[in-house]
Symmetry: C2
Subunit: 362 residues, 2 copies
DNA sequence: TGGTCCCGAGAAAACGTTTGCCCACCCCAG
DNA sequence: CTGGGGTGGGCAAACGTTTTCTCGGGACCA
């Protein structure tokens, strides 16, 4: 990734004159010092709390800084402290409610730590991840990476050698970075067992992307329960990739299939929502003729028709924990120990698998 | 907002020793210069494209920079250029799909301009907005503000005096900043006219927050159509605030109302979704007994049961345009001319207002 | 051939902050 | 009265980059 300087000039007019007037800077530490009749060093120490000195001076300096609206220049500071006070959030793609929730958790933690967030959301593959990380290099003290798939190990490893890294979504122990993972197996298992307990026998599953470890884990756990189920139970898989379109295609493929299914498990709520919609259009009653379950428990899931049985994932909590872990790594300055934290999931049983819709607002 | 230095130490242990090992920095410009046998000045000029000089030297420097993986220290650079290459995105709150879509548009544009995004999402009122802006002061070249309500004018005005500002969601001409606004009036008007054309006569509206200009505009436009409708048409308003909970409360209040309604317009899709759910639980058929319409056209809207008639808002495009406007301001260095750009909306007619559900995937 | 101009590239200052080192002062004890 | 320890606070270097000023050399024209 060759270095490319920031381009404020619009792409359609690369020859435009460089902007002449940079923004006005506020008061500097020298201004505060002069105003108080002390040296810049003293101001710096007081404002950073390292100074146990004269309370009078301290009060005066703080008051002056406040009055002048002084905010230290973060660039100058990071130049000497070698810390930026910011963390890079590298997201594969910003789709749907999942990432709003996730970001909310992250923002919450970072906000109270006084840490800033550099967010990028445009990596779909390892190479773009590398580019995104390179772009914010030097501006951040660490990376929070939501894995774009399971092929990114090499990139993550090389990033983790330079800065603290926390990975969400894949097991990155081999990369030397702590990982946080959703307990997909428990969730998918619970769905499968619930389906069988409810008497459903011919199961369909709409899978997620092959490269997504969450998706694979959900699929495998679902398969595993099927493998030890009674022989009259069948399981058929239809390929999806978590997107709306793929859900639509998979649901229609399922309906065209010669086998009559009585249950469909979509590996995320987005696809489950679409499945519900397709089934309704086809005149199939849920849950009587067919049970439907999803995964994620998006805020909307309980308000669908019928309310969607799904695996609850504490998404915001996931973001929060990931952020705490990352901050912890940065504090220790250690090159991010390997570890895996499993985020528990629970099955939220609603109207798409049990007839009584009175439980609408479970 | 008193200055508070970044706190990497976890809040529960404020006395922890300061982190001893700052992250290792990569190669500096001096390293590249030494490696090539030229001066740092030359490297700087070449890498920034200001150098039309000797192609041999240029090629050598570029190759070396690439080989060493040199990335300039953004702090040092911003110290002298007085630009940071980053923009601050100040969001009121990260809820639902709306902001994922919005952020996607923003990220898209900034990414291709090589500009970084500092995202904050924790301001619910003007004072918090001021604090959020102060926190990133000096780290950004401009602000993209999604208004937390219509009381923020004073804060926005003072921000706009210092840095380029673009505002989304309120008319900030008085603040000296360009604004982008959704054409709420057109959308709400279209809904009202559609409802009346479909023969609905007793309309209910679930409003948004009083402090939100979008919400107010939608309400007023809907009222206006009612005002010039035939006398047998009634309109009753129920207070909401765009949240799921408020939608639930408003829908139930509506059902308890002595008047029998045959149409409900929720001022955003989140509340409309809840309304659909509540009506289903109450055994009211949509659209036969009651029509439902929302606003925003979230990606999920067309997959609800029945598919939701709603006002389509090009959310991603909104983010994209806002970002382009902001970048334009920063480029010109001008203190952000006042202007208002209106983002057009269109009515998406679906099954929640017209019986034929065959149009499911319109 | 001599003068002029241009172009490539280096030296050095400046940006705002932190921090190690040092000094001066004060207080207290001997 | 003097010496020592402790403390408040100043000086100056350093961080990595851009940019202005400068100079040397080569080309071109008369």
């Amino acid at each position: 990734m060759p270095y490319r300087p920031p381009q404020y000039t619009p792409a359609d007019n690369p020859t435009a004159a460089p902007p002449p007037i940079p923004h006005a800077l506020g008061p500097t530490i020298t201004d505060v010092a002069r105003e108080c009749g002390v040296s810049a060093a003293t101001v710096s120490r007081i404002l950073n709390g390292q100074h146990r000195g004269d309370p009078t001076t301290r009060g005066r300096v703080q008051a002056t800084a406040l009055r002048l609206g002084y905010v230290p220049h973060s660039g100058a500071r990071s130049l000497v402290t070698r810390r930026t006070g910011a963390l890079g959030i590298l997201l594969p793609d910003l789709f749907g409610e999942f990432f709003s929730e996730f970001l909310r958790g992250i923002d919450d933690v970072s906000h109270e730590a006084g840490i800033h967030l550099l967010v990028t959301s445009t990596h779909a593959d390892p190479e773009q991840l590398r580019a995104a990380a390179a772009a914010v290099r030097g501006r951040v003290d660490g990376y929070l990476i939501v894995a774009p798939g399971n092929r990114a190990n090499a990139v993550i490893t090389s990033l983790a050698e330079q800065l603290p890294v926390v990975v969400v979504g894949i097991d990155a122990r081999a990369c030397g970075a702590p990982s946080l993972m959703i307990d997909n197996a428990a969730g998918a298992t619970a769905v499968a067992e619930h389906a069988l307990a409810r008497g459903y026998r011919h199961l369909a599953m709409i899978t997620g992307p092959e490269t997504n470890e969450d998706a694979v884990a959900r699929r495998d756990a679902f398969r595993a329960v099927f493998a030890r189920a009674e022989p009259d139970v069948t399981l058929t898989e239809f390929a999806g990739d978590f997107s709306q379109d793929s859900g639509w295609n998979a649901a229609h493929t399922m309906l065209a299939h010669p086998r009559r299914f009585d249950f469909v498990f979509a590996c995320n709520d987005t696809m489950a929502t679409i499945a519900l919609s397709v089934l309704r259009d086809a005149g199939i009653r849920v849950p009587e003729n067919m049970g439907v379950a999803g995964f994620d428990d998006l805020p909307m899931a309980r308000f669908l028709t019928p309310p969607l049985t799904t695996v609850h994932v504490p998404i915001e909590e996931l973001g929060r924990r990931a952020m705490r872990t990352l901050i912890d790594c940065v504090v220790r300055g250690a090159p991010s120990r390997s570890s895996v934290e499993l985020i528990p999931t629970t099955l939220a049983i609603r109207g798409s698998t049990v007839p009584d819709t009175r439980r609408a607002r479970s």
